[in-house]
Structure formats: structure tokens, C-alpha cells
């Protein structure tokens, strides 16, 4: 591939070869298949302490886009930006900038520039030096120029305008006008190169006053031009002697081919670029000041100047306006948009301020808790929010969300007020819930693999120990037993959750006390399990069963008891494993157990797994142990077929589940989670507890199926500006009127904000201030039916 990049799409035999190719190309990989300018594909960020900040981030950014990442604090937007910048490592996923795989490129090679929230100006450098700083180090490919010859040519040209030349020379030496060196001033004013201005200075033109200088120039003009002409021809001869050809700008070519050099910018070029940036940003008068002598807005502009001066491929801005006061923020907002339009750079902008996002972005990415919630233009995000989170986060004042019941085409709020929806809504609703049922069933099937989770649990310690070639039999046995006992406790707690779920549905006289009783019994059960007394455990189980059988049914009780007792025996057996057994025997026994687990299993690829496990068994003690072990490990890992996208669905379901269910069954994915009152630390890898997740998903499935049957609860969203006064609104999409009593009426310019208690929420309506509405006096309002949004209360997704 050209430019020394490796082709990202080529297929090679093994990792070693891939590494070799990478090393040959200096770890530069290009992927022609990536269409967009910047592409983030399945990016994840997991911090070393196990906290995951960003989940499955996918985004394609086109050239000249202004992308705004917006979300509440701690949602992972800054982390994403820092990953693009190369300041944070990308845990998994691919980042392409201009088709180049940039995951492992250091940030300086990515050709990006960034504006920091704190501006990051160097306090010891002046504004000029600050802006020039990024230009000083980088090398650029430039056309090779005969600088001396060009200098003479421009110097001759300068005599065409003697007045300006005289002024430039005099002012160049005048310390009140020029703060730099004389030749810098002259070359800037006359727009000539430094070489040319040095030539002019070497003519010793007097610089006492403009008149004297002008007289001197006019008197000696002829001499000077002749002299310089001769010097120019000498330089030209030198270039020709070296074999170069040149055009009128003295850009050199060799045998018809242009000659390029890769070098740092000269002082003159830097000065030009800095002045250009300063002109765009109105920073001219402040160039010689130190950052501490500037106001907040000026510092902000210097930071912007430092970013734009390098003309990088991508601009990153991390909350650049959050340190400014409200008025300046509005000003700088339009300034940034103006600069973006002026230079057209691709920009990624992070903010928590939705107003900034809505006004500046060409596309908005709304994030929450590390997940992307929606990507779209400001208009899309505002009028077609994908879910409840986006609907409530975007828009000020926030959208009103009611609980309602949907029956066919009519949604009814709790006070009986109803809105009829378009006719085709019924089909939409049906299609939505059918899709949901299908999806959830698939997820449940994925999780319905108790055995596989158990297999991983047995295999992992074995794998680690064998790999490190240190099988300490006693330790290993204890380790497995320990994890199995933990599992027992887990089983008990999920049993508890299930019982509570049943109890909630049943009608019991002293529900609270009854629950307390169950709770103490289960605590006793737990301590008995800890004490490893099977008989007592069984009696305790029976006791609990007797209590709960009327509410949960025989079937449930007997199945859970059998399961618990079986697990208990297994765990005890493991713990009391004979320590005299040789290490091979122990490992063999465990492997047999694993094989047995899979043999009566309905999984399609079980043969493959069993074969790989048998291979490991045979390879014990031989040299082929390690490869076969790795193979088995890989096969087993592949069993966990839950993808990140599926997790995302489960996650978003989570956010909107209310009350008990949420606190009892918390999804765990590499995060510290609270289960009950105990805080437990979950390991880094996928620590999904299948049972808890299954309970959660089954609950969801149940309600989805309910929703398909007939009337069901929904969340109804209506933006404040789509609520109108009955007397004023005349469009056909007008709904039936409803009456409220405003608590507070705010006058905001030409609009009235009405706050009122309605259907247990604080309703906010925004109406034109042409009609006077007083607080505590009833008003009649209507809705715009077309703008009513309907959300599914479980997944939070939008149905309409």
C-alpha cells in the first residue's frame, strides 16, 4: 500500500506473521474499506480498576462535520474524546482517522489538535509564543525554494513603492511601533520574505525619519536596483549550476520534477501563520501579553488559535466554554461556529450543555452511563427522541412525561383524560412489541445456559493452574469449593428474590411481617450452609417451604430444593477432596466432570467442546498440553455468545425498571455493584449472573406479552411548547381540552411558562404571552395530538 501503510484487510496465517508485517510498516495500518473520515467502531473503555466507562461506541464522522457529544457528567463523553486524542488507551474496538488505524498511534502522529477545558496555555509564554508553540516542532513537506534569489527579487520589487518602503524601515526601528526585530516588521508590512528584508536592511538606509529615508531611497534607487540585480543573477547562476530549474517564485525542480523538502517551518512562516490565526480570532493587540494578563474570553480565543494554527485533520474540544460566564459563552459559541465554517475542520466537541449541543452541532451524539443513546441531527434528536432518556435530557424546559394506558388507538392518563392517536398506531404498537418479544426470547435463550457458566467456573482455575504448571491440589480444590459455596449463597438469594416476587402478587394479611419472617429464615439457611450441615439445611428448607407453599406452588419448591441439595453435595464433595490424590488424577477427575456436564446438553457445538476437553485429558503430562489447553479455553469462551449489543439492550431495559425488581436484580458487567446491602467486587471479565439477568428478562418478556394482548401501560411524552390554550389553538390536530390550576406562572419574554400539578407530575406548558394567565385560576389547555410521543415503560424505547 502507498505511503508505507500496511493494508488492514489482508488475511495472514497467524499472529506472528501479522506482527511481522506490522513491524515492517512501522505499525501503520490503512483500511480502504472505511468510508468515513473518522470512524469509531465498537470502542470500549475499561479502566484498570475494572470500571467500564464507555460501552460499544460506534460513530462515523464525515469531513467538515461538527459532532457534539452530549450527556450528563460521568457518561463517558470526555473519555471517548480522550481516546480519539490518544490520551487514553482504547480497551477494545477500532479507531480510524482518515482511513488509518489509529488505536496504537501516539497522539502526535494522529494529526489532531485539542482545546482543553482549562485552556492549557503555557503561563511563561506570551500569546504569540503560545500560538506558535505547536508549529515549532512539526516537520512539513514543502516545495524547495531558492531563498536567496527570491530574497533579492522581492527586495528589488520593494523599490516600486518607495513611500511604503521608507515607512517600513523607519517604523521597523521605532520601538514604540515594532516590538520585534526590524527585519520581522519590514517583512510583515511589505509582505516579503525575511531574506528580502535583510537584504533591504543591508543597504543601510537611514531610519531617523520617513522624509530622510524617502529622499535617500529616491536618490539611490537606480544604484540599488542595479546592484541587487547583479546579485540576483549571481544567485540564479548558482542554482542553475546545481542543476535546478526554477519558476518565477524560485520554486525548484530537478529534471522537470518538483523538488520537495521535509523540514520545520521557518520563523517567517510561523509568524505568518500566527498572524493569520490572530486575525481570525481578533487577537492582534494581545500577542505580546502573557496569559495571566488576559480575560477568560481572550484566553479561550488563544486556546482556539493554538488549535487552528496547525490546520490539523480533526479538532477536539473538551467543554471549552464551561469556564466562561453566560454572556461570553453565547458570544464564543457563535465565534466557534464561525471559525468552524471559516476553516471547515472536522470537529468533535464535548459538552454537558444541551443548548451548546443544539446550536452548534451538525450531528449530536447523546450518551448516558457509557452507552450511546442516539445519534442524529439536532432536529432529529429533538423531535424524534429514540428513548425516554433522550426525550427528557434534550429540551428546555424538559418534556412532560405521564403514565398512561394505551388501548387500541387511544391513550388515557390516570385522571381519565384521553388522546386518540393516528389509526396506524395500533399496527406500529403491535409490531414494536412483537419485535421486543422476539428479541427478549433470544436473549433469554442465550442466558439459558446454566451449565456453560458452571463449566467456565470449573475450567478457569484448572486452566490457569495448568498453564502456569503449578497444580497445588489442595489449594485448587479449596478454591473451586469456595466458589461453589459462594454460588450456593447466590442460589439462595435468587430463591429469595423469586419468593418475594410471588409474595408481592399474593394477598396476605400481614405481608410485611411475613416477609420479615422469610428473611430471617433465609438468613439462618445461609449460616447453616456456611456451617456445612446438610441435614439442618434440609430441615430449614422444609420449614421455609411449608411457609411459602400456599403462595408459590409445590412445583417450584420441590425443584429448588432438589437443586440446592445437589449443589450442596457437590460443593462439599469438592471441599473434602482427597488430598492424597496425585495431581494428574485430580485434574482428570475435574475434566471428566466437565465432559459429563456437556454430554447431556442440548448445545449444538457440544461435540466440539467435548472433543477439545478430551484432547486436554490425553495431553496431560505431554508436551502438547499447552496448545490443546488453549484450544479448549478458546472453544469454551466462544460459548458465551452474549454480544455487547445485547448487553446494551439489557442495560437500557434496566434503566427504566422501577422499584423492587431493579434493586434486587442488578446487572453486573465489570462494575462494582450493590446486591442487597453487600457491596461486592466483580471481576473484570464478563461477570453476568445468568440467573439474575434471566429473572429480569423473564419479567420483561412477561410484560411485553401482556402488552400484546390488549390495553397496557405506556409513558406519554409531550413537550411544553406543544401544549396550548384551548381558546387560541385551532388546528385540526387539537385534542380534547383539560383543566389545570397553575401553581406558578413565569413570564419569559414573549412566553409564559405555566407550572401546574397534573396527574401527579409537575406539568410545564409554554404558551405565548398574549393571553394573561394568573396563578391559582383555572385554565383550559389542549395538546397538539401530532406531537404526543408514546414510550414503552420497560425498555424506555419510543413506540411513536
Amino acid at each position: 500500500m502507498e505511503n508505507g501503510y500496511a493494508d488492514g484487510n489482508q488475511v495472514v496465517k497467524n499472529a506472528a506473521e501479522a506482527n511481522k508485517i506490522l513491524k515492517e510498516h512501522n505499525y501503520k495500518v490503512q483500511n480502504g474499506d472505511v468510508d468515513s473520515f473518522v470512524s469509531l467502531q465498537g470502542i470500549n473503555k475499561v479502566y484498570p480498576n475494572g470500571v467500564q466507562a464507555v460501552y460499544d461506541f460506534n460513530l462515523d464522522i464525515n469531513k467538515h462535520d461538527f459532532i457534539v457529544l452530549v450527556g450528563p457528567s460521568g457518561c463517558g463523553k470526555s473519555t471517548t474524546l480522550r481516546m480519539v486524542a490518544g490520551l487514553e488507551e482504547i480497551s477494545s474496538g477500532y479507531l480510524y482517522i482518515d482511513k488509518v488505524l489509529s488505536n496504537y498511534l501516539p497522539s502526535k502522529s494522529r494529526d489532531i489538535s485539542m482545546v482543553f477545558q482549562s485552556y492549557a496555555l503555557y503561563p511563561q509564554m506570551s500569546v504569540y509564543e503560545n500560538i506558535a508553540f505547536p508549529l515549532k516542532i512539526r516537520k512539513y513537506t514543502k516545495r524547495k525554494v531558492g531563498k536567496e534569489a527570491l530574497g533579492y527579487k522581492l527586495a528589488i520589487k520593494a523599490f516600486e513603492n518607495p513611500e511604503l518602503l521608507a515607512r517600513a524601515i523607519v517604523e521597523g526601528f521605532d520601538k514604540t511601533v515594532s516590538f520585534g526585530k526590524p527585519h520581522e516588521y519590514i517583512s510583515t508590512l511589505l509582505n516579503i520574505s525575511d531574506e528580502a528584508s535583510k537584504v533591504l536592511l543591508s543597504l543601510n538606509i537611514p531610519h531617523n525619519s520617513i522624509e530622510i529615508a524617502l529622499d535617500y531611497i529616491n536618490a539611490n534607487k537606480e544604484n540599488f536596483t542595479v546592484d541587487l540585480d547583479s546579485k540576483l543573477s549571481v544567485e540564479e547562476q548558482k542554482l542553475t549550476a546545481a542543476g535546478y530549474e526554477f519558476n518565477e517564485n524560485y520554486e525548484l525542480s530537478l529534471n522537470g520534477e518538483p523538488v520537495f523538502v521535509n523540514e520545520r517551518l521557518s520563523k517567517e512562516e510561523i509568524r505568518r501563520k500566527v498572524f493569520d490565526a490572530a486575525r481570525i480570532l481578533d487577537l492582534g493587540p494581545y500577542l505580546d501579553r502573557l496569559p495571566k494578563e488576559l480575560s477568560g474570553g481572550q484566553m479561550q480565543r488563544v486556546a482556539l488559535g493554538r488549535a487552528i494554527v496547525r490546520n490539523a485533520k480533526v479538532f477536539l474540544m473538551d467543554e471549552p466554554l464551561s469556564n466562561l460566564d453566560a454572556k461570553l459563552r453565547v458570544l464564543m459559541r457563535s465565534e466557534i461556529v464561525r471559525i468552524h465554517e471559516h476553516i471547515g475542520a472536522t470537529t468533535i466537541y464535548v459538552t454537558h450543555d444541551q443548548t451548546e449541543a443544539m446550536t452548534m452541532a451538525t450531528r449530536i451524539v447523546v450518551m448516558s452511563k457509557g452507552w450511546v443513546q442516539q445519534v442524529g441531527t439536532p432536529h432529529e434528536v429533538y423531535s424524534d427522541p429514540a428513548n425516554l432518556f433522550v426525550a427528557t435530557f434534550i429540551g428546555s424546559p424538559a418534556m412532560n412525561i405521564f403514565d398512561g394506558t394505551l388501548d387500541k388507538n387511544e391513550v388515557t392518563l390516570s385522571d381519565g383524560f384521553s388522546v386518540d392517536l393516528p389509526k396506524d398506531f395500533k399496527e406500529k404498537d403491535k409490531a414494536f412489541y412483537e419485535r421486543k418479544v422476539e428479541e427478549t426470547t433470544r436473549l433469554i435463550n442465550l442466558l439459558d445456559n446454566e451449565r456453560e457458566f458452571q463449566a467456565i467456573r470449573v475450567f478457569e482455575p484448572l486452566y490457569k493452574a495448568l498453564k502456569a504448571n503449578r497444580v497445588e491440589v489442595s489449594k485448587l480444590g479449596a478454591e473451586i469449593a469456595k466458589s461453589e459455596f459462594e454460588r450456593l449463597h447466590h442460589l439462595v438469594s435468587s430463591l429469595e428474590v423469586e419468593i418475594y416476587a410471588y409474595l408481592d402478587g399474593a394477598e396476605i394479611a400481614n405481608k410485611h411481617e411475613f416477609k420479615q419472617l422469610i428473611k430471617t429464615k433465609i438468613a439462618e439457611l445461609n449460616s447453616l450452609i456456611k456451617a456445612r450441615v446438610l441435614e439442618a439445611v434440609e430441615t430449614k428448607l422444609d420449614e421455609i417451604n411449608e411457609l411459602v407453599i400456599p403462595y408459590v406452588g409445590e412445583e417450584f419448591v420441590s425443584s429448588t430444593k432438589a437443586q440446592l441439595v445437589e449443589e450442596f453435595n457437590k460443593a462439599v464433595a469438592n471441599e473434602e477432596f482427597d488430598l492424597d490424590v496425585s495431581k494428574e488424577n485430580y485434574v482428570e477427575a475435574q475434566l471428566d466432570r466437565l465432559i459429563a456436564l456437556f454430554e447431556d446438553h442440548k448445545k449444538e457445538n457440544k461435540e466440539e467442546i467435548i472433543a477439545s476437553l478430551k484432547e486436554v485429558k490425553e495431553a496431560l503430562g505431554t508436551e502438547t498440553l499447552l496448545p490443546s489447553l488453549e484450544l479448549a479455553h478458546e472453544t469454551l469462551n466462544n460459548i458465551l455468545t452474549i454480544t455487547e449489543a445485547d448487553l446494551s439492550k439489557i442495560y437500557s431495559a434496566q434503566s427504566y425498571i422501577e422499584g423492587d425488581v431493579k434493586s434486587q436484580a442488578v446487572m453486573t458487567f465489570g462494575k462494582k455493584t450493590k446486591v442487597g446491602k453487600k457491596v461486592k467486587k466483580v471481576k473484570k471479565h464478563k461477570a453476568i449472573d445468568p440467573r439474575e439477568t434471566k429473572i429480569l428478562l423473564e419479567g420483561m418478556l412477561k410484560s411485553y406479552e401482556e402488552a400484546l394482548k390488549g390495553p397496557h401501560t405506556v409513558k406519554v411524552g409531550i413537550r411544553p411548547e406543544h401544549i396550548h390554550l384551548d381558546s387560541e389553538y385551532t388546528k385540526p390536530s387539537k385534542s380534547k381540552p383539560f383543566v389545570i390550576t397553575p401553581n406558578v406562572v413565569e413570564l419569559l419574554g414573549g412566553e409564559l411558562l405555566i407550572h401546574a400539578e397534573y396527574n401527579n407530575i409537575d406539568l410545564i406548558a409554554k404558551i405565548p404571552a398574549t393571553t394573561i394567565v394568573k396563578s391559582h385560576e383555572e385554565v383550559k389547555l389542549v395538546l397538539n395530538k401530532e406531537s404526543v410521543l408514546i414510550f414503552d415503560p420497560i425498555s424506555g424505547e419510543r413506540i411513536k
Partner: protein, 323 residues
């Protein structure tokens, strides 16, 4: 009612609440005087050794022990007799004892040069090494960084004297006790205290500055020299001063290294030389000679202080303050 006899309440002049206070203010400030006296007494006690040092070094041998009653005005006047003895070996005619030290002012030149070498050279190397280490510990992310740092901090617990003997063995083994300066400078350049001080200051530099420069393509060395050093120059100056003082005043280590070898006096530092001389002038009437030696030792440090006083005070203040 008679108009003249009416008095509006707000026109009534109430006795000033501060009247009593004002009176005491005007009267003699006893409290202030007492504290002034106490402070003055302590101040005199504190600087008396210096006064003693200077005045007694400027006396005749005959007057040497006539203090405190003639502390400022010795009855036979001031003289440079002590300095003449120590620098030139020239004794006054009245002197009863003649101690031959074998040292003249010519020996002082290498001593002062050696001391300068240790104090200035050692300090520069130490500050550079410490600043590099502090930069790494603050801004670079490497494995076991915190473990290493904790270990280094732990070494501060070990008193210097405990490791001196080990160092001496090493240096003698390398025969560096026959070479000037190297053995004096090397053991000191890895001092943890300076690194800790500088690191504390560097932690106050916003990380954004470093990250921004990295994105612009600057290497760690360039960032260190262009951004971190200019920002941290005050703390480096403070650490430099500490290092200079330590290097100049150190006696034990140079003494252990070179002190035993009287034939190689050219390797000595000023402190070692002075200690040797003072050992010779132990009798009570030659006390002036000893103190003249002390004056010779502190004069260079005083000169450094006079030149750098402003910077040092400023640096001390800002080193403790986070930006």
C-alpha cells in the same frame, strides 16, 4: 412645650462605645513593650554567636578571653592577628607559643575550589537528576511507579549516618579517595528529599499542559526543558540552595573520605581544612584563630545569600503554594 428644651433622641450624644478603648490606645502600650523586650532578648541571644564569632576573631591573643565585659570594645583594639596566624603563619612578637600547622593561605585556594566544586557541581547534578525523576514520577505512566516511589520515600527514614560507612567502603574500594571531587559528589546525587520536594511542585502543574504539548508532537525531553523547567524554576532554585548549603557545610563525609590523608591536603574541602586547623588551635588563648577560621568558612555562603536573597524568599514561598 418650650421649643428650646425639646431634644430629639437621635441628636442626643450617646457616650461612645469605643471611648474606653480609645483611651487605652492613647496610653502607653504595655503589652507591646513587653513583647518587644522579650523578642529583642531572644533575638540577641540568637545572633550573639555571630557577634561573638566576628568580634573575637578580630582580637589579640592577649584579649581573647576578656569577654563578655569587653565584647565590643577590646582594650587593645581590633587587629587581624588571628587571620595572620591562620593564613600566613605569622605570629606576633609577644606570642608565647608558636604552633606549626604546615598550612598557609596557598593551601586555602584548593580547599575553597574543592568546596565550590562540591557545592555547585554536586548541586547542579543533583537538581537535574531529581528534576528528571520528579518529572517521571509525576507525568509518565510506567509499571510499578507507585511501588518505586513508596520505596524511595521509605529510604528517607534511614539516617544518612547509617549508610556513610558503606559508602566509604565502596569509595575506598574504587580508590576514589585519591581523586578529587568524584567521591564527594556521587553519593549525594540520588537524594530523595529534593526529588520529593520537586515532585510536589510538579504535581501542581496542570496535566493538560503536558498532554497538549504531547499532542503537538513534543517529546518528553522537550516538554521537560520547555515547559516544566521554566514553570518549576523557583522550586529548583530552592532545592539548589539547600543542596549548596548542604554541600558547602558538610564535614563528616569529606572528613571520612580525605581527612586521614594529611599528605594530600589539596583534596580537602574548606571544612576539612578548617577542622584540621581548629584541632591545632585548641588552647584557650588561640580561640580567636579558631573563630577566624569560622569566618572564612561562612563568608562565601553569605555572599551567595546576598546575591540570591530575593529569589530564594520568593521561591520558598511559591514552592509551598500549589498553583
Amino acid at each position: 412645650m418650650d421649643q428650646s428644651s425639646t431634644v430629639k433622641l437621635h441628636e442626643l450624644r450617646l457616650p461612645s462605645r469605643n471611648a474606653k478603648k480609645q483611651r487605652t490606645m492613647i496610653s502607653f502600650p504595655v503589652g507591646k513593650l513587653v513583647s518587644f523586650i522579650i523578642l529583642t532578648v531572644f533575638c540577641i541571644i540568637w545572633i550573639s554567636p555571630f557577634i561573638f564569632l566576628f568580634t573575637v576573631s578580630l582580637r589579640n591573643q592577649t584579649d581573647a578571653m576578656l569577654y563578655p565585659k569587653e565584647i565590643l570594645y577590646p582594650h587593645s583594639g581590633y587587629s587581624f592577628e588571628s587571620y595572620e596566624i591562620i593564613l600566613l603563619g605569622k605570629y606576633p612578637e609577644t606570642s608565647e607559643q608558636h604552633i606549626t600547622t604546615g598550612v598557609t593561605w596557598r593551601d586555602l585556594v584548593p580547599w575553597i575550589l574543592n568546596s565550590c566544586g562540591v557545592a555547585i557541581g554536586g548541586t547542579i547534578i543533583h537538581v537535574l537528576v531529581a528534576a528528571f525523576a520528579a518529572y517521571a514520577f509525576t507525568f509518565l505512566d510506567f509499571k510499578y511507579r507507585n511501588v518505586l516511589f513508596t520505596f524511595l520515600i521509605f529510604t528517607m527514614v534511614i539516617p544518612g549516618a547509617a549508610t556513610t560507612l558503606g559508602n566509604q567502603t565502596t569509595i575506598f574500594g574504587l580508590k576514589w579517595n585519591k581523586v578529587p571531587l568524584v567521591g564527594l559528589i556521587l553519593p549525594g546525587i540520588g537524594g530523595v528529599y529534593g526529588m520529593y520536594l520537586i515532585k510536589t511542585f510538579f504535581s501542581g502543574i496542570p496535566k493538560d499542559l503536558i498532554e497538549s504539548a504531547k499532542m503537538d508532537g513534543y517529546s518528553d525531553f522537550k516538554i521537560f526543558f520547555k515547559i516544566v523547567l521554566p514553570l518549576g524554576k523557583t522550586v529548583l532554585l530552592v532545592q539548589g540552595l539547600f543542596g549548596f548549603m548542604g554541600g558547602w557545610n558538610d564535614l563528616i563525609w569529606p572528613q571520612m573520605l580525605y581527612g586521614a590523608d594529611v599528605k594530600r591536603k589539596d583534596l580537602w574541602t574548606l571544612q576539612v581544612g578548617m577542622a584540621y586547623l581548629l584541632g591545632k588551635f585548641r588552647s584557650s588563648n588561640t580561640i580567636g584563630v579558631s573563630l577566624a577560621g569560622g569566618v572564612i568558612c561562612i563568608v562565601p555562603v553569605l555572599i551567595v545569600y546576598l546575591f540570591a536573597a530575593n529569589k530564594i524568599v520568593e521561591g520558598m514561598a511559591s514552592a509551598g503554594v500549589k498553583r
